[in-house]
């Protein structure tokens, strides 16, 4: 009796759950960056509503993880598009080629600013990239060319006398995040390069230069707050002396509680980022597998939707979601490249 009940429930459940058989894929699959995720999903949702195609599935895997999945092969089981908050690396292009993916279409979709924000309850900071580097690097120059010491600074006024005497406490994303990569490359390295001897050092010993400029201090002044930017915003409100590093869209959505610091004299505002004046901004991309065009239904139409003025234009719905659009000339140029399916040129 017992065995019968057991086997009966199993078989019944198996029948209920395994209704239709495998079928060819009729749905676009997108993987990649968590920074581009909100934009890709918005377009995907619109596309699903506007057309008769199924809504694409968008996975948030991070830029590196996405490119890895993307380059794994051609066919039903592999992603059609990968989002990236940085440009594809030549090593990744080679990996793609090794797996039979020779033709990739590159699409630049816009910009994202990285802000250094604090609570509105405190004073707005006006920092330079050099200040940020000195406050956050593991090793800082001693003043004598060619010499460094472990970061001794504990308050902002030690870094730059014009800043208030507030404890250095910065919350930022972990190393797995694209935001962290971009912050390190744009802000830290940007500040690092302002020291002439370090800049000269780049040619001599690139590795040592990188490790000096890219290493963030680990003594507690920089707090890895996880990938959740909302959490950072909440912590900033709770702790007015702390700073947080996150994407511009979170600043825009929380403009009543947090403020972005002025960097190199420029406030993180929409126009300033769009025009490239704000120093800590990066380009966002996605990559399309050309072999899948025409095989996976809707791929061409998806690209058309993404590159329409309604989507990525200055008043488009992606701008409402926090994407900083490209200039009109850039948009025309990229739309042509994307819709014409031109191959990636490194």
């Amino acid at each position: 009796m017992f065995l019968k009940t057991l086997s009966f429930t199993t078989v019944a459940l198996a029948i209920v759950t395994a209704a239709p058989a495998f079928a060819g894929r009729d749905q676009i699959k997108i993987v990649g960056s968590s920074t581009v995720f909100p934009f890709a999903t918005t377009v995907a949702e619109r596309f699903g509503k506007k057309t008769d195609f199924k809504t694409p599935v968008v996975e948030s895997t991070g830029s590196g993880g996405g490119l890895k999945l993307f380059c794994a092969g051609v066919g039903d089981g592999y992603a059609d598009i990968t989002n990236a908050s940085r440009r594809i690396k030549s090593s990744e292009v080679e990996k793609c080629a090794a797996n039979g993916i020779a033709d990739i279409v590159e699409a630049k979709i816009g910009y994202d600013g990285i802000v250094i924000a604090n609570s509105k309850a405190s004073q707005q900071f006006d920092v330079t990239l050099a200040d940020l580097f000195l406050a956050l690097a593991k090793d800082v120059p001693t003043g004598v060319d060619g010499e460094t010491k472990p970061n001794p600074y504990t308050t902002w006024d030690q870094v730059n006398a014009s800043l208030p005497a507030v404890k250095i406490e910065v919350m930022g994303p972990p190393p797995t995040s694209g935001t962290r990569d971009a912050f390190v490359e744009l802000a830290m390295e940007g500040g690092c390069k302002t020291f002439a001897w370090i800049k000269a050092f780049k040619k001599e010993d690139k590795k040592a230069y990188k490790s000096l400029c890219h290493t963030i201090r680990e003594d507690g002044a920089f707090i890895e707050a996880g990938e959740n930017d909302n959490l950072i915003v909440q912590k900033l409100v709770a702790n007015p002396s702390a700073f947080g590093i996150f994407g511009y869209s979170f600043l825009e959505q929380n403009s009543d509680t947090v403020q972005g610091s002025i960097v190199n004299g420029i406030a993180p505002e929409f126009e300033a980022i769009a025009e490239g004046d704000y120093p800590v901004s990066r380009s966002l991309y996605f990559y399309v597998k050309k072999d899948h065009v025409g095989v996976v239904p809707g791929l061409v139409e998806f690209l058309t939707e993404f590159t329409s003025e309604d989507a990525w234009g200055e008043d488009g719905y992606l701008a409402d979601k926090g994407l900083i659009p490209m200039t009109e000339a850039e948009r025309t140029e990229w739309a042509e490249k994307i819709n014409g399916l031109s191959n990636l040129a490194m």
């Binding site: 057991l6 759950t17 495998f22």
Partner: protein, 422 residues
């Protein structure tokens, strides 16, 4: 001469100490329970407090021009509904002149308003030909303002809703053209990037399908494995080794099972990525050790006299086990299964590796279609910049808890039913 007597009633000091120790222990226990109850109550009230807003949503009534000029009755789908919505807003509030003002005006309604209008017309083509007043969703910012999550005080630049917009909303509410209604969409639609449209159903169905697969695999396999190991297998070095391995597996971090799923189910078997089938299989791997350990313990708790009596009456070992021992151990099997399934329900880490952490709008209709799961949905919403997702996150947690409670109630009723039989 005095008799050296030992009185057990004396030594009051020692006795008191023992009584005090007992009292202390009991009080510590009570305090511990009270503390955990306070934390639980705090957690649940804060979640319900934050999530209650998600039950309602704000709708706006506007007069739409649906003349043949705007919508061709022959080609209903081809009309530009966004234009109709925008012109309806403009004629309602002609004071919005500048480009920036117009943009703010359009932001009053959801970006989905055009699609909602289209769907209403498709459902009832009789609306065409005249001006109609219809309800469409308000944008998330308006919804947040109506619910009091955006304060009207403070400088205009500090708010998501500017003074013009507040003026328009007040006009609308004076005309009873804005109202809060039950948010049925939250329970009937899939995920969305627009907080006012996002629903839980796709994640709920995804979780249910994954758990069905997980149950269909782990329950029979786990219990048969436990029965074999406990009742039939010879106790030797091999069975010891297997036992140690099962105990160890129960403590393996769940992401490892995800990696296993990725390399075997996806890469070797070629099963579809992001599907509840693979999700359920990975979760089954994770649940198996829990079920096996609990099932073995409950088999061990069946008195040997039952086995001896059955064998004495001439039953074969298989008959003894399946007719007499296993039914008695069934409540224990069910307890183990509940624990395992509850664990599986709350898991996201292994699902990350097999592509179930994804934006999925369509509601899955089979275990082979892409799906996501409840905890994943909570994670994705918690990570979204829009403030309106905060209440959705809490509401999704409530749904997850209700799902869990329902699952447990089913299992407990079943357990009760089998317990009374013997």
């Amino acid at each position: 001469m005095t008799n050296p007597t030992t009185s057990f009633l004396k030594g009051q000091k020692h006795l008191n100490r023992r009584h005090n120790a007992e009292q202390r222990f009991q009080w510590m226990g009570r305090i511990a329970i009270a503390l955990s109850l306070i934390f639980l109550a705090f957690m649940i009230t804060s979640i319900i407090w934050q999530g209650k807003g998600a039950v309602s949503t704000t709708k706006v009534m506007l007069a739409f021009d649906l003349s043949a000029q705007m919508v061709d009755p022959e080609n209903i789908k081809g009309a530009s509904y966004e234009k109709i919505v925008k012109s309806a807003l403009r004629s309602q509030f002609p004071n919005a002149k500048k480009r920036k003002q117009k943009k703010a005006l359009y932001a009053l309604v959801s970006s989905d308003a055009g699609f909602q209008l289209r769907d209403q017309i498709l459902a009832n083509p009789a609306l065409l030909g005249a001006e109609q007043t219809l309800w469409v969703s308000a944008s998330d910012d308006v919804d947040m303002l109506m619910k009091g999550h955006i304060s009207r005080a403070g400088a205009q630049s500090d708010r998501r809703v500017n003074d013009d917009q507040i003026g328009w909303i007040d006009t609308l509410s004076d005309e009873d053209a804005i109202k809060r209604v039950f948010n049925i969409g939250f329970f009937t639609s899939g995920d969305s990037r627009e907080p006012e449209l996002a629903g839980i159903l796709s994640a709920l169905v995804g979780s249910a399908l994954s758990l069905l697969v997980c149950f269909a695999l782990s329950f029979p396999i786990g219990i048969l494995a436990a029965i074999y190991l406990e009742e039939f297998a010879k106790k030797n070095r091999w069975s010891d080794l297997i036992e140690i391995n099962i105990n160890n597996l129960a403590a393996v971090p769940s992401i490892v099972f995800g990696l296993l799923g990725l390399s075997i189910f996806l890469n070797v078997f070629g099963l579809p990525r992001s599907s509840p089938l693979v999700g359920g299989m990975v979760l089954a791997l994770m649940t198996l050790p829990t079920i096996i350990i609990a099932a073995r313990a409950s088999l061990r708790a069946v008195p040997p006299s039952i086995r001896e009596a059955a064998l004495g009456m001439g039953a074969s070992p298989v008959q003894t086990t399946f007719h007499h021992v296993a039914p008695l151990a069934l409540p224990g099997f069910l307890t183990g299964t509940i624990v395992g399934m509850a664990q599986a329900l709350g898991e996201t880490a292994p699902l990350l590796m097999i592509g179930m952490v994804a934006f999925i709008v369509d509601i899955p209709s089979s275990i082979l279609e892409p799906a996501t799961a409840l905890p994943v949905q909570i994670f994705l919403w918690a990570d979204s910049p829009e403030r309106a997702f905060l209440e959705k996150t809490s509401a999704a947690i409530i749904v997850l808890l209700i799902f869990l409670v329902l699952m447990n109630i089913i299992a407990i009723t079943l357990r009760k039913k089998y317990e009374t039989r013997f």
